[in-house]
């Protein structure tokens, strides 16, 4: 999938870009590093390049995971409607099972839990899906960025 040099670039860029004038000098040729990053961006191996924020500190204090039950043959249509809501950051189709009948998942963000609930109600009205739950996190056990090729 990736060669040694690419893995070196991934190791450097998944951490923090150093705040120096030439931050892409990471021990291999700068030109080569830049070329690899640009190629990764074109191929969307890099989903995005930039600042990841602590969004709780910026007023987006509440987030809830909406789980929705949609008919299997309407997944595409419903997912597309949900994705259009700016308050929805992530929207996935995941398998339902006899133990758990929900198959669409939306992360909803807002200034309060009530604001998130209102968004969920609007999604429900727009999609016609009435069987859903909005699950807020009551505790964060872990939140980190993925570390690739750590060598262990």
């Amino acid at each position: 999938m990736t060669n040694k040099i690419e893995q070196q670039v991934i190791q450097a860029l998944q951490a923090n870009l150093p705040l120096v004038k030439q931050p892409f000098e990471i021990g291999i040729s700068e030109a080569e590093t830049l070329a690899i990053v640009q190629r990764f961006q074109e191929n969307q191996v890099i989903r995005r390049f930039g600042a990841v924020l602590y969004h709780q500190r910026l007023g987006f204090v509440a987030n809830g995971m909406g789980v929705w039950r949609a008919a299997e043959d309407e997944i595409e249509k419903m997912g597309a409607i949900m994705a259009r809501f700016p308050e929805v950051s992530h929207c996935y189709y995941r398998p339902a099972s006899p133990k758990w009948k929900y198959n669409l998942y939306t992360m909803i963000h807002g200034p309060s839990q009530e604001a998130c609930r209102q968004v969920a109600r609007r999604i429900s009205e727009k999609t016609g899906l009435s069987d859903y739950k909005l699950l807020f996190s009551s505790r964060e056990f872990k939140k980190i960025s993925m570390v690739y090729y750590s060598g262990s």
Partner: protein, 150 residues
């Protein structure tokens, strides 16, 4: 945070300039010196507004596999089980949520086989057998930008 901070944050959440002197490019765009861009970013990081400046990789495109697991854990065992689950480097997010399945975590591994192996180990080590394996079958949206009012 002043207007320049907010403008800078909005500018770099996506499409940070990938070139030899990115902070110089940002300096020219925002009309302030390169050194000031760097010192503002240092401050925004130490003030815990910027979590990280770097790349977000698509794990699938790197050949990795991931899933979301929901586990049904007795309340009094939550801490112990979270401790076991969190030991895995590939577990990046783990939350308690008030529902029948009350522990929700994501796991990423270098292959589908390793992913299954980790899930198996978690079941064995925790003794929790009632869990849902919920891999994404389709992604409709992923956008974690938060544009600030300037």
């Amino acid at each position: 945070m002043d207007t320049i901070d907010r403008r800078l944050i909005n500018r770099i959440q996506r499409n940070f300039p990938v070139c030899s002197r990115p902070f110089k490019v940002l300096a020219e765009e925002l009309g302030i010196p390169e050194a000031e861009i760097i010192s503002r970013l240092e401050r925004l990081k130490s003030a815990k507004i910027i979590r990280r400046l770097g790349a977000v990789f698509d794990s699938q495109k790197l050949g990795f596999s991931s899933t979301l697991i929901a586990m049904r854990v007795p309340e009094e065992r939550l801490d112990k089980v979270a401790g076991i689950v969190n030991q895995y480097r590939g577990v990046t997010h783990n939350y308690q949520r008030p529902a029948k399945y009350n522990m929700w975590f994501t796991v990423t591994a270098e292959s589908p086989a390793r992913l299954d192996e980790i899930i198996g180990e978690i079941k064995t080590k925790t003794g929790i057998t009632d869990l849902l394996n919920l891999p994404a079958l389709r992604l409709f949206k992923i956008n974690v930008d938060f544009q600030l009012e300037e």
